[in-house]
Subunit: 296 residues, 2 copies
């Protein structure tokens, strides 16, 4: 498991704040103890303006706050952020900019909930699709299989307690940043916040999500400047349409040996001997099958 | 497949409006044609007030509109609804009441998106948990297994094109109303709208969802007055807590032979010979595995 050392950031399923033990019964009527994922409210302020209350596992409120504002187009990557303050007791995070932004009025307070995650201001965001300039970074299918294998073997809350989404920022076959949350949009936004904070170059990256390939997921990936989006899950028609318009490579239903690419297949280099993958696939499936679709 | 005749309403995966054929490539680089789920915007008005724009597959806008308003506590089951008008071209649905309701001001316009579905006004909704009076309807484990088997064998968009959630209203081992949508909350809300419209008694029903057992899902089930909530997916800690408070039976990770009950286990009657289920389980799994977690 040396690949675990390649991660810049990965889940800590042993963090006692992220899941709790509960007692119940199984199918045989036996008393069992199991772990379930925690969700807690986090209220985000941009300067003095209350923006939104989100349900989150609460592990990286600063990344979530920054990434949310970026992905909602309420901050641009160029906006100077002078500070991010988090109050654990209050469940409040405040993002401060040098001057008031003109985005603060754009969103009224919305109560957000897990599974629901975040609404999106589509008007603004469609510009992101229209103006997309994604680099022609090639993607080897051998890298995709190796990447999936590593992700499936990475200890995570998903494997520990289920009912959670995961997003992974990767480069070729190396997963680099793996973040989870109860809503899949929170997980994406935390990645965006991480990339902004640490100045990560998106051009040679791959974005992997456990969630479905909807219009929102496509828009966020394009906004982050990442040219390739991969998921175990399926597509929506609008997601496919936007990916094609933006020149994003969109790969879905990626399980074991199988995958389908519905946009941007010009980036793919088919260098994997599929006979070999078939054998590994069963192994992956067992590894990941404890809560097979709990987080999808 | 005689059980299909027991349905009051079930998916029509042959409806050409609900999915589109797209061309792509598979893992071997071969050109393939596959179907993907359609999502389209639907703007909901309560009388003259614009409430929300949702992304939906668009099959039952009237049920979705009515159920949304009920589940958001913007209408009570007692509010007289004088009409529901749907304009397909505009993508607008209007719910009319005899007099203006005091709920119309409660929600500001929110742009909702698939995967995101709906925010919730928690303040109001917590009263629903506090005041819950769910009936002690017994549930036989043999019924649960028979029910899952029938659901897995019912033709659906999930089996056809994936990336969709399903909710099923059932009585004992009989699925009665099976509705799907791109957001799981839309699917729940359509069930709520159906129940209201047709005066369905919730007391002896079971609610089955492909989605996770979060606080919102628990609140909606309790509001509908249904005493049992079942899912293939996992739990969140708050979902479990609210279910226990409300006296809701909460069953999750229900796959093949396995399940876990984390609240309200007093309703369960363990009458199923598990040795028999084990054999059926593999069969179910194959049936449902085309897009195993695409909609979860």
């Amino acid at each position: 498991m040396n690949f675990l050392d390649d991660y810049w950031l990965r889940p800590d399923p042993t963090d006692p704040r992220l899941s709790v033990a509960v007692t119940g019964r199984n199918e045989a009527g036996e008393t069992i103890e199991t772990r379930v994922t925690v969700e807690r409210p986090l209220t985000l302020f941009l300067n003095a303006r209350e923006i939104v209350t989100m349900m989150t596992i609460g592990d990286y409120p600063e990344y979530l706050a920054l990434g949310y504002l970026l992905n909602q187009n309420m901050l641009t990557p160029q906006t100077p952020v002078t500070g991010i303050e988090y109050d654990d007791d209050l469940g409040v995070v405040v993002v401060r900019t040098a001057t008031e932004t003109n985005f603060e009025e754009k969103l009224k307070k919305k109560i957000m909930t897990s599974g629901c995650a975040q609404g999106t201001i589509f008007g603004d965001l469609m510009d992101i699709i229209e103006n997309a300039r994604l680099p022609p970074t090639p993607v080897r299918t051998s890298s995709l299989y190796a990447l999936s294998h590593k992700i499936n073997q990475t200890p995570s809350l998903y494997l520990e307690s289920g009912a959670i989404h995961g997003c992974i920022l990767a480069e070729a076959d190396r997963p680099l940043v793996y973040l989870e949350d109860v809503g899949r949009h929170n997980a994406v936004d935390k990645i965006a916040g991480y990339m902004q904070k640490h100045g990560v170059d998106p051009a040679n990256k791959i974005f992997y999500t456990t969630g479905r390939l909807t219009s929102e997921m496509v828009i966020k990936t394009v906004r982050m400047g990442i040219p390739v989006l991969v998921s175990r899950s399926g597509f929506t028609a609008w997601g496919v349409e936007l990916a094609r318009k933006a020149g994003l490579t969109l790969i879905g239903r990626a399980r074991g040996k199988r995958f389908v690419v519905l946009a941007g297949d010009d980036r793919l280099i088919y260098d994997q001997d599929l006979a070999y993958v078939a054998e590994e696939s069963a192994k992956h499936r067992r590894k990941g099958s404890k809560h097979e679709d709990a987080g999808a």
